[in-house]
């Protein structure tokens, strides 16, 4: 009597009484090969399975107790058998998709492997389901097993936990200063050969483009309005133009990323857990602050005495409580591990916010953010300078990311000058720190060659712009030909840099068409691959299979 006949007989017998017996039988028949459908001999075919599902649904009371033994013999994770009334099964699934569903069900983290092994079937590409917010819900309403599995993952509650890799995995599996290159021994959970859906390839660092452009708008506003650069007679139209371009860019990026958050929430979550990427979650809010600071005089907005400032700063404060708390309170994300120049993005928001708040005429709130920023900037600066051996993300060589060192002090000097009303000694001290760091990076400029362009480079242009704006402000206080020419020079450098990066972006977007390459950083596996098995997919499969088999053995023992 093979498994199929057992199932067929299920329709005739009383399920309440016979189920336990049946499951034991199934377990004994199938368990030794259930995970390898290639054998074929003992495969259960789905049309035969669905009657059992129906009977299982009637068995709410029994399933709680026996769900574990079911999970062994059945193609599902343990929770997959918590069958629900509301998961309707309208029609049996097509025969040819059975084996893949069957297989994926028997694994704790099934979706990626299904994607790796299977070709897309019947027009629906299921390989990216693991990153979708509702995998298959929209375009495959009738895929009932899919729904069942999803439902069970939601019920069990820990399906998501298992999907997110722990932080040390990011360090183990990725390399490079931005932790975005897969190590050769690792395998991605998504197919590496061909481009993924656009939304999956759209990283959060794309917001840095808005930052770069927004800071340019600020710079040209300062150039056109500052008394030290009056002699240039720059039209405020440049500012307006840049500002409108930034606004457009911001809207586009925000809409796109919102779509990503809606459709591929798992990808966004993985970006948030990425030790470098998480800092870029500050960049949209900073870009909005830039838009407010660089607001052209031609655009009239009533700020109601700065009341608009508080809602702008609220998300930054919440993120800071989260991120700084992680640094301090230890665990895997302590600062001595994750410190990286891009952490400056998490700091600089304080100063930008203080600058905007002080420009709107507020006092206490800006000082609050200035203080918070200063304290954490001191910590970060010292930590980065120390280059602790435990710091796994610090790039070995210089990299454009190091320009972020310039950002925080230059914006801090601007913010303090705005708070106290004059570019006083404290502002100058901070400004000169920024200037020195800038100089010490510029003299090493030939170390900066030979890196692959990425969207994150935009984030590295805004520090130079910040330094240029601070210099313009300084020249307004100390007005002499030297400071004026310095501000002119730095402004030219930053604008040239932005133009270069813009050019590179355009070339990559239009000509090379690789502006958004596959974002490997979000596709690492949760568990390290077994040694020796390098080929993608295989490693994951082996580990998961072993675990399942162990489980099945123990449960078989318990069942008898």
């Amino acid at each position: 009597m093979d498994a199929g006949s057992v199932l067929r007989s299920l329709n005739q017998i009383n399920p309440e009484e016979e189920l336990l017996h049946l499951l034991e039988l199934l377990g004994s028949r199938i368990s030794h090969g259930f995970d390898l459908p290639q054998d074929g001999s003992e495969m259960i075919q789905l049309p035969q399975i669905s009657p059992l599902f129906n009977s299982l649904r009637d068995l709410q009371s029994v399933s709680a107790h026996h769900s574990h033994s079911i999970s062994v013999s059945w193609p599902a994770s343990p929770t997959g058998l918590t069958v629900n009334d509301d998961a309707e099964r309208s029609s049996p699934v097509k025969q040819d998709s059975v084996s893949s569903k069957f297989q994926s069900h028997s694994q704790p983290l099934p979706q990626p492997r299904a994607g790796l092994r299977e070709k897309p079937r019947l027009g629906r590409d299921s390989r990216f389901d693991s990153f979708k917010s509702w995998a298959g819900q929209i375009d495959d309403q009738t895929d009932d097993i899919q729904r069942l599995r999803r439902r069970s993952l939601e019920l069990s509650g820990d399906g998501d936990e298992r999907a997110a890799p722990p932080v040390h995995r990011y360090f183990d599996a990725l390399e490079g200063p931005e932790l975005d290159v897969l190590r050769p021994t690792e395998a991605a959970v998504l197919p590496e050969g061909k481009p993924w859906p656009f939304l999956l390839r759209f990283p959060v660092s794309s917001f840095s483009m808005c930052m770069g452009m927004g800071s340019q708008a600020m710079l040209w506003k300062a150039l056109s309005s500052s008394p030290s650069t009056k002699f240039l007679r720059i039209s405020p139209l440049v500012n307006l133009l840049l500002w409108c371009a930034t606004l457009l860019l911001m809207i586009t990026t925000t809409v796109t990323y919102t779509f990503k958050a809606i459709f591929y929430f798992e990808a966004v979550r993985r970006e948030f857990y990425h030790p470098v990427r998480v800092n870029f979650f500050f960049s949209p809010w900073i870009a909005i602050l830039f838009l407010f600071i660089g607001l052209p005089e031609l655009v009239h907005v009533n700020f109601h005495g700065g009341a608009a400032w508080y809602p702008l700063m609220a998300p930054i404060l919440c993120l800071e409580l989260k991120i700084y708390g992680q640094w301090m309170s230890g665990g895997e994300r302590r600062l001595s591990k994750v410190a990286n120049p891009s952490n400056h993005l998490a700091i600089v928001g304080n100063f930008v916010g203080a600058l905007l708040g002080a420009s709107l005429g507020l006092k206490e709130g800006p000082i609050f953010f200035f203080a918070v920023g200063l304290a954490h900037y001191a910590v970060l600066f010292v930590t980065l300078y120390q280059r602790l051996p435990t710091n796994e993300t610090l790039p070995k060589e210089l990299h454009p990311v190091f320009f972020l060192f310039v950002a925080a002090p230059s914006v801090a000097s601007l913010a303090w000058a705005r708070i106290v009303g004059t570019f006083d000694y404290a502002s100058r001290i901070v400004y000169f720190i920024a200037l020195f760091l800038y100089a010490s990076l510029v003299v090493r400029v030939n170390f900066f060659r030979g890196f692959r362009f990425s969207m994150a480079w935009w984030a590295y242009t805004f520090p130079t712009t910040g330094a240029a704006i601070a210099t313009v402000r300084y020249a307004a206080q100390v007005k002499n030909p030297f400071t004026q020419s310095l501000s002119l020079f730095l402004s030219a450098v930053s604008t040239a840099l932005v133009a270069l990066v813009l050019l590179a972006t355009a070339v990559h977007a239009v000509y090379l068409r690789d502006l958004f390459p596959n974002d490997i950083a979000i596709a690492i596996t949760s568990a390290p691959p077994r040694s020796g098995k390098i080929s993608p997919g295989l490693s994951l499969k082996s580990s998961a299979t072993t675990r399942e088999k162990d489980e099945s053995i123990t449960i078989l023992v318990n069942g008898r």
């Binding site: 800071e320 409580l321 700084y324 708390g325 640094w327 301090m328 309170s329 230890g330 665990g331 302590r334 600062l335 001595s336 410190a339 206490e364 000082i367 609050f368 200035f370 203080a371 918070v372 200063l374 304290a375 954490h376 001191a378 910590v379 010292v382 930590t383 602790l388 435990t390 708070i419 106290v420």
Partner: protein
Amino acid sequence: MASSPDGPRFVDIHPLPADDGPAPKPRSRAAARQVSLQPIRPPRPTAADFSMFRTKSSLSKPPTPSSLPLRAEPAPSPPPQAVVVPAGRYFAALRGPELDHLRAHEDILLPKDSTWPFLLRFPVNTFGVCLGLGSQAILWGSLSSSPATAFLHVSPIVNFSIWVLALASLATISAVYALKCAFFFEAVRREYFHPVRVNFFFAPWIVCMFLTIGAPGAVSTAPHPVLWCAFMGPVLFLELKIYGQWLSGGKRRLCKVANPSSHLSVVGNFVGAILAVRVGWAEPAKFLWAVGFAHYLVVFVTLYQRLPTSEALPKELHPVYSMFIAAPSAASIAWANIYGSFDEVSRTCYFIALFLYISLVVRINFFRGFRFSVAWWSYTFPMTTASLATIKYAEAVQSPVTKAMALALSLLSSAMVFLLFVSTLLHAFFWRTLFPNDLAIAITQNKVVSGRKKGAIDSKNWPSQPQDQPSPVPLASAKI
């Protein structure tokens, strides 16, 4: 090694208290109380057990006839404990955020299953009680006198009574600790070498300054500079010692010993600066502020980094983290006192403290599940200092928001102190577990050779430990 003859000696002695002492495993609370109510020490063996912690004068005395039979065989010629226990041993043998739990594989010099003499169980952390009460006295003093909180109409009597209470507790604790110094000097020395405990040696002097600052108007009007010299002198001396240890490396360099309690050794500067302004000496105040700020910066950065080398840092959050708030808020008050107005620098320091406060409060649920200890008192004074700074701030920026903040923070800190007060009383008189055996001072100087009588020691170690704390105690007190 000199300590090797010790091992057998104590193994020989251990059975004695177990034989005629109390039942070894009292399970219920009543039984635990019975244990501590009993006359704790069987006279003879105790005298031999704890002699190593006695002051040298009593050691050098010719052995009394009563202790002769015991001391006959081992012949303890030079007291081996006179050698300093190296800092690494404290990290190797102890664990916990306050380094006061013995690791499972370690042995101690004193018997684990009997209660030690009271003085040996009296840690220097107890001065934290005075810290908490003294800062509360200041808080209520400024609540009753500050224009920002005038609408509350707080009576100065509250300040006075808390101040008297703090003074009384300081007098009592100082007297007891002085007795400990007199009789068990070795224990005090070992506390001084303990990487966490050493910071609490600043506490008595800080308390004295608190009491001087918070003295009610009825007691004194303006303190005399002599008081400042008397209280600040020991702090400066200790600082030279401790900061020197941090700087000059060795086993006690900062990246090894950094711990939130290290803030205690920094905050003394700011309190001293406030007192210096009160006595009218502005320049020493600036000096102290500068010293304090420089070292605060270093401690802050080091703690934030959580270097893998700093072994004393607790893995999770712990009440000790509230120490982060103390130094910046004290610094802001000190700066405002020195320069006469709550200016931008003061506000910067104050807001740093406020942010740290918030970032700890939002993680409040990480703070549960720790055993109460008397050291918790020291963790209330940062909150009180933050409330004081908020009152100062509300004076500078008069608005309903700042007043509400001042009120809320003051209430929070007072409630916390009250809770601790209640739980201290409960621990002291009801459960009688306020002063458990102070394992931190009794670690061996060398590592116990693994395998040697391991089973015997471990079975003796831990069964006796949990009985010190009946199960409802930690849960009830941890809810705070």
